[in-house]
Symmetry: C2
Subunit: 233 residues, 2 copies
Amino acid sequence: MMKPSQCQDCPTRQLCLAAGLDSHALEQLGECVRPSAPMPRSAFLYRAGDAAEGCFVVRSGAYKTFAISASGEEYVTGFYFPGELLGMAGQASGEHRESATALMTSTACRVRLEDIPTLWSIGSGESLLRLMGQTERLGADVHVNLSQSRADARVAGFLVTLAKRMRHQGRDAQRLPIPMSRTDLANYLGMTLECLSRVLARLTKAKLISTTRTEIAVHAASDLEALATHLDA
Amino acid sequence: MMKPSQCQDCPTRQLCLAAGLDSHALEQLGECVRPSAPMPRSAFLYRAGDAAEGCFVVRSGAYKTFAISASGEEYVTGFYFPGELLGMAGQASGEHRESATALMTSTACRVRLEDIPTLWSIGSGESLLRLMGQTERLGADVHVNLSQSRADARVAGFLVTLAKRMRHQGRDAQRLPIPMSRTDLANYLGMTLECLSRVLARLTKAKLISTTRTEIAVHAASDLEALATHLDA
DNA sequence: CGCACTATTGAGTGCTGTCAAGAACTGTGG
DNA sequence: CCACAGTTCTTGACAGCACTCAATAGTGCG
């Protein structure tokens, strides 16, 4: 006998493809979309070169995506938290060009390409589209953020955006989880490790934030927003 | 009597939702998706604040997307050429946060949200997904490009990526159209107008490119690739 | 407790942003 | 066809910030 759909008691049920579904549809959704086993830190969700047979929704934990340049350097292109979509870029060619790894013990649900018509039929199509739109909107925010020349503005912008994402998840927007290393974060933000460290030190000294290795507490969100270039209210 | 589908003789037929369809399916596609009337330069495809009832595929010409920050500055977030998809970010909330304007006389096809199940039924679903993947992949390329600290690298990376897009369109990858102003391009690349101008002057002096106001000719693609950080072959 | 790794702090150079002026192009009207 | 005005683009000088190299301090793990 089939177990009841895992989606019924998924922590991200309000955010992902399950949004707005009744219990019957949830069961159907559970037929297509199943969470992965818990993946330890550094485990690959997919690797550059893998066939891209779909995309993923983060269920718990966090992931990063990165590409390796021709000269062997790593370029971190995204961080993904519960309820967020990743892996769409692979659909362009049917092959992933980036890799994705877990930043901590994490789970993700694979959305198979061939199940997408089914998803539309059970009422998850709009949610999928919304998630894709979110991914692209986040990309636009990141573009604006990276186009800032001041490192302080890029860091502040990252924190503001991260706070928004935490709020969207229903989590505390004043205690931001930093599951990635300083190296990864600096790489993502287009600055050196040293520069990021200095910026965090400056922001801490100014009492806007306080930092630990794995968390940044925001004390003055409005000051951070003033430092960053924010597009929306 | 209904005119035959405009898709039959669309210049982007191989690139957009019509890819791989037979003439019957093309006709059905033409029922959902119709090109806009030619839009003059600076005309809005959509404005920030508009309801997002779908997305768009560029049919001819070129568009830019941009957002206005809280302080009133413009931030250019993307340029779009024939066969490329734009406007997905609006699906996140049902409202566009960016605006899109034509960079020259242009046409675009609107893809309505409610037509997407139909698109899947006639075999365009995969193409739509592929276009979305392309958009996201381009976003990742741009992220890597913007995270370069040297302005030369960012400009070279932009040119390399643009050449790739032109090749994908079947156009000459050595004569790159530059339909946007220097101001827009500098803004997009996260540098000042003056800096962009200097970089272009340096690259010209080194005989890697030659520039006119509306076109950049690439003379040494391999040298440009060496300057840029390229992820793929 | 010691080792390896990660993060912070310090000093000097180079590139980009800023401010400012001049040149080239575009479109209009005579 | 040319003159003109407005815009767009290019070039120059200077200052500030981030990158590089280098050393120190802190963390986690065996």
